[in-house]
Point group: C2
């Protein structure tokens, strides 16, 4: 068994161990036991417990990033792509939080163990928004002086619907309407400057 041991198998086992014991109690020995190998075998792939935890967190985030690739499609406006992306993000966060709250809490803990990982993740998500807004700017659907700053502003303005600190609010009876109203306001804001001479800024 030890000969066939791959990094991927270790990461899958680590996720399972984290799910079972939680981030405070899970050890490399637990991971080795789950795989039926010595902990030395695990350390040959991941030099430290911290490296293993970081790798499993990045694997978890990579799956989210893959899932959140913007769905550009023929005939779709940038506003439609943006609304669908934000809705999917909200739906996925709600689903993850409610169906598997423990795993969600575990990964939240892991993500915050390293500010590098937080920045990597936020950078990736805001980067997806940058792609969508840039596409809208190219077709003159959106106008902005600075796509990066605007992408960050869209991320921040929709904060209540993706930041885990607000997870308890996601079951409110009117939360979908409140989400729709924020997204409509944001999309209107992205469009407004199409006619830059139409008005000044406050």
């Amino acid at each position: 068994m030890a000969e066939a041991l791959t990094g991927e198998a270790i990461l899958a086992a680590t996720e399972e161990v984290l799910r079972r014991y939680g981030p405070a109690k899970a050890t490399v020995v637990d991971v080795a036991k789950a795989l039926g190998v010595s902990h030395g075998s695990v350390y040959r792939h991941f030099a430290t417990k911290a490296a293993l935890r970081e790798a499993v967190t990045k694997r978890w985030l990579a799956a989210i990033h893959e899932e959140m690739t913007p769905a550009f499609g023929e005939g779709l406006t940038a506003a439609e792509v943006l609304r669908a992306w934000l809705q999917k993000l909200f739906d996925e966060k709600r689903r993850a939080h409610h169906e598997d709250e423990e795993l969600f809490a575990t990964f939240r803990t892991l993500v915050h163990e390293s500010s590098d990982i937080v920045e990597y993740h936020l950078g990736h998500m805001v980067g997806q928004l940058t792609r969508i807004i840039s596409a809208g700017v190219e077709t003159h659907e959106f106008v902005t002086d600075d796509v990066d700053v605007t992408a960050q502003a869209v991320w921040d303005a929709t904060n209540r619907f993706h930041h885990p600190a607000h997870a308890r609010e996601w079951t409110g009876p009117r939360v979908q309407e409140e989400f729709d109203a924020v997204v409509s306001l944001v999309i209107a804001g992205l469009r407004y400057n199409r006619v830059p001479s139409a008005a000044g800024d406050a």
Copy 2:
């Protein structure tokens, strides 16, 4: 001393006791001691400890609401009034959080002891936004089909800059720029519909 005891004096003493001992340990006996009266004298004004805590919380919130009355002034656009209001809210929250973090945490605990108080406070704050947006709609600076829904959307979109869950982010080196970008996006969104025929909605 007991004869001159007013509700206001009790509330001021209660705030001081809460500041000193925290919400978990502060008792009515502490308040009475601070005033040099019997706890019976305190109970003659506030029938229960819960009633006293609710009254002191409402008094604290009333001071905030007074402070946050929108500053309409001659020659100011609704966008300017809105930006100034949101900036003041952000500045006050940052100041309260950093200068007197314990008291801030105390009142956060008290506010969350009663969902009625949370709703009362949020209703008041969103109501202030409704007043500002309505003023903008009257002068055709803003357009919206539903002022109340839009006011809630502005409150939600600026969430990162007033919700205490994000207090740790308020010291970031770029947080003022990020605030400015969100407010500009929101104001552009409020203005956009001025020419309703200019575009559809996503």
